[in-house]
Amino acid sequence: MNSTLFVLASLDGLSYAALVFLVSVGLSLIFGVLRIVNVAHGSLYAFGAYLAASLSLLVTPISPWLTYPALLVASLVIGIVAGGLIERLLLSRVYGREEVLQLLITFAVFMIMDNLQRMIWGVQPIYAAEPLKLLPNVSIFGVSYTSYQVIVLPAVAVLALFGLRYFLRRTLMGSVILAVTEDREAATAIGINAQKVYLITFIIGATLAALGGALASPTTSLVPGMGTEMIVLSFAVAATAGLGQIEGTAITALAIGMARAFVIYLQPEFEVLVPYLIMVAVLLVRPEGLFGATKLRKI
C-alpha cells in the first residue's frame, strides 16, 4: 500500500469511526452507570435517524440550513422522550434484578420499537441528504470526499468525547453520577437521588444513540432493521474497549474503523469479520476489555 492509499484509507476509517463512537459511547455510559446492557440502543439510533430525516424533509423548503438544527432537535426529542419513557416505565423497575431479566426487557423494547418504526415510517428506504449537500466536497489525492463525512462527523465525535469528559469530571452533576456509579448505597446515604441520576444518565446515553442516527441520516438510506446492524457493531466496540470506558471506546472505535478501512483496500473479503476478530482477540487476552479495570470480588 502506497502513501496515497494510506491517507485515503485513514480518512475513510476516521469518518466511519466517528459514527460508531457516538453510538457505542452511549451504550458504554449506560452500562457503566446503570449496569444494564441496553439492546434497545439500536432502536434509539434508528428512531433518531428517522425523526431527523422527517424533520429535515419538513424544513428543507423553508431553508436547507435549518436541517442542521433539525438533526439536533431530533436527537434531543428521541433521547429525552423515548429514553425517559424507557427508563421510567421499565428499567427503573428492574434495577438490581437478574441480568437476564434486564436483557429480555431491553430486547422486548427493541422489538416493539422496530415494529413501531415500520408502522410510522413504512418499509420503503428514506433518504434526506440535504445537510450533506450543503457543504462542498474536498479533493484529496484526486479523490473527492464530502466535507460532511471527513470534517463534520469527526468534529462532532471529538466534541462529544471532550464534552462527556468535561461533564463527568468537571461538573457537579458529573461528580454525582460518578459517585452513584462507585457506590450507590453510600451515595444515597448522603442524600443523592440515585433514581434521578439513572434517569439523567439513560437520557444522555439515549441522546448519543439518537445523535449517531441523526448524523448518519444524510449519508445513508434509512431502512427497517438499520438499528440491528448498529447495535451489533456497538456491542463489539464497547466490549472490546471495556464496558463503561469512554476514552477507551473512542480509541477502540478509531482502531476498528481504521482496521475495517485498510482491510477493504487490502483484503476486502475480511471486511465484515474485522470488528469481531478484533473483539475476540482482545477478549481472549483481556476479558475485561482493552481499557476495563479488573474487578475485585467482594467476599
Partner: protein, 438 residues
C-alpha cells in the same frame, strides 16, 4: 300396505343418507373459495419488494373476484411473512397447507426461502409457484412435480445485462463489482463474471467488493474505486443498500467517472429520483417497466399501473409484475385443467398436470413454463437512464428486450457449465431497441 310404507321409509332414509354423503362431495367439486397462501417479506429490508408484492396480490385478487373468480370460484388470500425466516417460515407454510387447507401457494421472494419451501411443497403435494426467487440452481438440481417458477432466474437476468453492456460499451477494459455479501450477491456475480470471461476475455476485474448486507456506509469502497478508476462498476445490490451506494457514489463523483450497471436497478429508479444521473445501465429482472414499450398503450396495463399508484403512491416495480404473473399462471392452469376435465372443477393433481408447457401473460411478454424443469421463460428488458419531461425521476431509454429462449440455460444443463460454453459471438444476437416515448 304396511310393508310398502316401511319400504318407502327405508328408501327415504337411504336417499337422505346418500344425499348427506353427496352434499359435501358436490361442495368439494367446486369449493366456495380458492385459497392461496402467499409468502412475502412484510418485515426487514426486503419488505421493499414484499409490501408492493402484497399490495399487488390484493388488487389482482379483488379484480379476479369482481370478474367472477377463477372458474367461477372466488379467490381468498393468506399471507406469511418471509422476514420471520427459518423455522417460523416452514411452520407457517405447513400451517397454510395443513390447517388453512390452501389450494395453492406462491413462495417466495428469497432464494433461501424457496430452497426451504420447494422440497416441503413436494412432500405436501402442494402446487407452488415460485413467484420471485431467482437462484437458478433450485430447479437445475432436481426435477419437481409441484413447484413452478413463473418468471426467469438469475442466469438470463444477468446475461441480458451483460449483453446490453457489451453492445453499448464494447470498448471497456476494466470492471469492478460491489455486491451485497450474501447468496444473491455472490451467485449473480459468478454468473455475470463467468459469462464475461467467455464473451470478452480481455477485460480485467480490478476489484471484487462484497460489503455486508445492509451496510450503511460505502465510503471506503467508493474511495477505493475512485483510486482504481474502473471503466465499469457492476452491482446487483437492491433496496436501501443500492440507494445508499448510488447516492454516496453520486455525491463523490464516482457515477461520472465509471459506467455503473445496476443489474436489478428498475426497482430503485422512482425512489432515487433525480439523484440518479443519466447513462446508468438498468436491468429489470424480466421485461418489467411501467412504461414497457410494447405495452404502454395497452389499456389493462395502464389501468393496473394507475390503480397501483392510487393504492400505494408509486408506479409498480418488478415484484408487482412477478406477482401478476403468478396469478396469471394460476388462472391459466385452472382454466386449462377445467377444460381438460370437460368443464368440471378439476382435482389438484389435474391442475398440476395442466401447468407444464402453460403459456400465460402478466403485464409483459408471454411467459412459458418449460415442461422439462418447470422453469419460466421470461423476456428481459434492459435500458439506460435518461431525463424526460414530466417525470421527477429518470426514465429508461435505448431499451432492449431479450427473447427468453435465446438467453435461458437449456433444460437439463447447469447454468455455470452452460455459460462456460458461450463464445464472443453470442453477444452479437439481434435484439429490438426501443426509445423512451416512441
Amino acid at each position: 300396505m304396511k310393508r310398502t310404507g316401511k319400504t318407502l321409509k327405508l328408501l327415504a332414509g337411504v336417499s337422505l343418507l346418500l344425499g348427506a354423503l353427496g352434499g359435501p362431495a358436490t361442495a368439494q367439486d367446486k369449493p366456495k373459495e380458492l385459497k392461496i397462501g402467499i409468502t412475502t417479506f412484510l418485515s426487514g429490508p426486503a419488505a421493499v419488494f414484499g409490501e408492493p408484492g402484497k399490495a399487488a396480490a390484493e388488487m389482482i385478487a379483488a379484480d379476479i373476484n369482481k370478474k367472477g373468480g377463477i372458474g367461477g370460484v372466488p379467490v381468498a388470500l393468506s399471507f406469511v411473512d418471509e422476514g420471520a425466516g427459518g423455522e417460523a417460515l416452514v411452520s407457517n407454510y405447513r400451517r397454510l397447507v395443513q390447517d388453512e387447507k390452501v389450494d395453492a401457494t406462491f413462495a417466495s421472494i428469497s432464494s433461501g426461502s424457496c430452497n426451504q419451501l420447494v422440497p416441503l411443497a413436494e412432500d405436501l403435494k402442494m402446487m407452488n409457484f415460485m413467484w420471485d426467487c431467482g437462484a437458478a440452481s433450485i430447479l437445475e438440481a432436481k426435477k419437481y412435480r409441484y413447484s413452478f417458477r413463473t418468471q426467469a432466474n438469475a442466469t438470463p437476468e444477468m446475461l441480458a445485462v451483460l449483453i446490453y453492456l457489451l453492445k453499448t460499451k464494447p470498448d471497456f477494459k476494466t470492471i469492478a463489482v460491489v455486491n451485497q455479501d450474501y447468496a444473491w450477491g455472490r451467485e449473480s456475480w459468478e454468473i455475470f463474471s463467468t459469462a464475461l470471461k467467455q464473451m470478452k476475455p480481455d477485460v480485467q476485474v480490478v476489484a471484487e467488493l462484497f460489503p455486508k448486507f445492509g451496510a450503511p456506509d460505502y465510503s471506503t469502497e467508493i474511495s477505493r474505486l475512485m483510486a482504481l478508476r474502473p471503466d465499469v462498476v457492476f452491482t446487483t445490490s437492491w433496496g436501501g443498500d443500492l440507494d445508499t451506494l448510488v447516492r454516496q457514489a453520486g455525491q463523490r463523483g464516482l457515477l461520472k467517472q465509471s459506467t455503473f450497471v445496476l443489474a436489478i436497478g428498475e426497482s430503485s429508479v422512482q425512489r432515487l429520483g433525480k439523484d440518479l444521473p443519466e447513462g446508468l445501465i438498468i436491468g429489470a429482472r424480466g421485461d418489467h417497466w411501467f412504461m414497457h414499450p410494447e405495452k404502454k398503450n395497452d389499456a389493462a396495463f395502464k389501468d393496473f399501473n394507475e390503480a397501483f399508484k392510487a393504492k400505494t403512491g408509486s408506479m409498480p416495480i418488478y415484484p408487482v409484475y412477478h406477482m401478476a404473473q403468478a396469478f396469471a399462471a394460476l388462472q391459466g392452469a385452472y382454466d386449462k385443467a377445467i377444460k381438460a376435465n370437460g368443464g368440471k372443477w378439476p382435482t389438484r393433481e389435474q391442475v398440476v398436470d395442466a401447468a407444464p408447457n402453460l403459456e400465460f401473460v402478466g403485464f409483459g411478454r408471454p411467459v412459458k413454463l418449460r415442461a422439462e424443469d418447470n422453469q419460466g421463460l421470461e423476456a428481459q428488458l434492459v435500458g439506460v437512464t435518461k431525463k424526460a419531461d414530466g417525470f421527477n425521476h429518470m426514465v429508461l431509454d435505448n431499451m432492449m428486450i431479450f427473447d427468453a429462449a435465446k438467453i435461458t440455460t437449456p433444460a437439463g444443463q447447469k447454468s455455470v457449465e452452460w455459460l462456460k460454453t458461450l463464445k464472443p459471438d453470442f453477444a452479437k444476437m439481434d435484439v429490438p431497441v426501443f426509445q423512451h416515448g416512441k
